[in-house]
């Protein structure tokens, strides 16, 4: 049973995750003005059809707004955090050219993306202890060769907090 729609591959998670435009944190709003008819606006229409879902998937907090048939020429406008606005002309361009241009001017570079991926790999970082969902181990008592969990076997008298407190009180009294 095939999927419904013209290019149903756009509606797959794999396609969405394959999007490579991750915009910089400064970019807050993206506005796309394009026309529904006309050959010059063809690249813009394809950009909206194919690439906008990928961009929104990768930039969850970016507000994207589409405007149709407002101006004779298609363009993109980005609104940055410090009030700066970036205008990108889309007239007569191919949708692949548009996406590459956007990636070049306002996209995060490969190094930055890899550094962020590294930082996020805390689930596989053996130095972190925490809930099973986020880390490998929950407590150091699980590691071979470390002090076993006091819940399983009682600690020797000298290591209990009670004993240590009594010793510290006795030493302070003297």
């Amino acid at each position: 049973m095939p999927m419904k729609g013209r290019f149903p591959i756009r509606r797959t998670l794999e396609y969405l995750q394959k999007g490579d435009i991750v915009l910089k944190n400064r970019v807050k709003i993206m506005t796309v003005n394009y026309n529904t008819s006309g050959e010059l606006s063809d690249g813009a229409r394809k950009f909206v059809f194919f690439n906008i879902p990928q961009i929104q998937y990768k930039n969850q907090w970016l507000q994207i707004m589409m405007f149709k048939n407002m101006t004779p020429s298609p363009f993109l406008k980005f609104y940055l955090d410090d009030g700066e606005q970036v205008l990108v002309d889309m007239e007569g361009k191919d949708y692949k050219q548009i996406s590459q241009h956007v990636k070049k001017i306002l996209g995060k570079s490969e190094e930055v993306l890899q550094a962020e991926a590294q930082a996020k790999m805390q689930a596989s970082n053996p130095a972190n202890f925490g809930p099973r969902k986020y880390c490998l181990r929950e407590c150091i008592c699980e590691v071979e060769g470390q002090v076993p969990c006091p819940g399983a076997t009682p600690l020797p008298k000298e290591m209990t907090g009670k004993h240590r407190a009594r010793m510290a009180a006795a030493a302070a009294q003297e």
Partner: protein, 148 residues
């Protein structure tokens, strides 16, 4: 006890004015694309914000850029009007700076002289266009042929 007075989450938003009947306040509808979890398609989800408009310059239907206020002004008003992006009925094309109505210009463009002389040779036509290496800011003409 400062949970109520946290700074506003959305710093810059763009939306459409839907009401101006409040005193110096514009009601703005903001649409964001939200992924439907089953269909995996993006749909517009609306949310209304109230924005402080000190000069009462908004009319219903304007597209407006809002900036978050450092402190919420009242229980609902947390943004202020930063600029009117597209004024309804008086849209200005950002590329040319001229007024635009739908996909047509209000006044036809006059920077390229459209001469209909059939008998002038190609060199004369090139001279008319007055292209030279020293001419300043050669912008792309409005009707760019699609690059293959």
């Amino acid at each position: 006890m400062s949970a109520k007075h946290v700074s506003v989450h959305a710093k810059w938003i763009i939306g459409r004015v839907i009401g101006t009947k409040m005193y110096k306040t514009a009601k703005v509808r903001v649409t964001r694309l939200v992924l439907d979890p089953y269909l995996l398609k993006y749909y517009n989800k609306r949310k209304t914000y109230f924005a402080h408009d000190a000069l009462r310059q908004c009319t219903v239907g304007d597209t407006v850029l809002l900036k978050a206020l450092p402190e919420p002004r009242s229980k609902h008003v947390k943004h202020e009007l930063s600029e009117i992006v597209y004024k309804v009925g008086r849209v200005v094309d950002p590329l040319t700076g001229k007024r635009v109505e739908g996909t047509e210009f209000v006044e036809p463009l006059t920077d390229l002289p459209l001469t209909l002389k059939e008998d002038s040779t190609l060199s004369e036509k090139l001279q008319e266009l007055n292209i030279s290496a020293t001419s300043s800011d050669v912008d792309s003409p409005p009707a760019q042929t699609p690059a293959s």
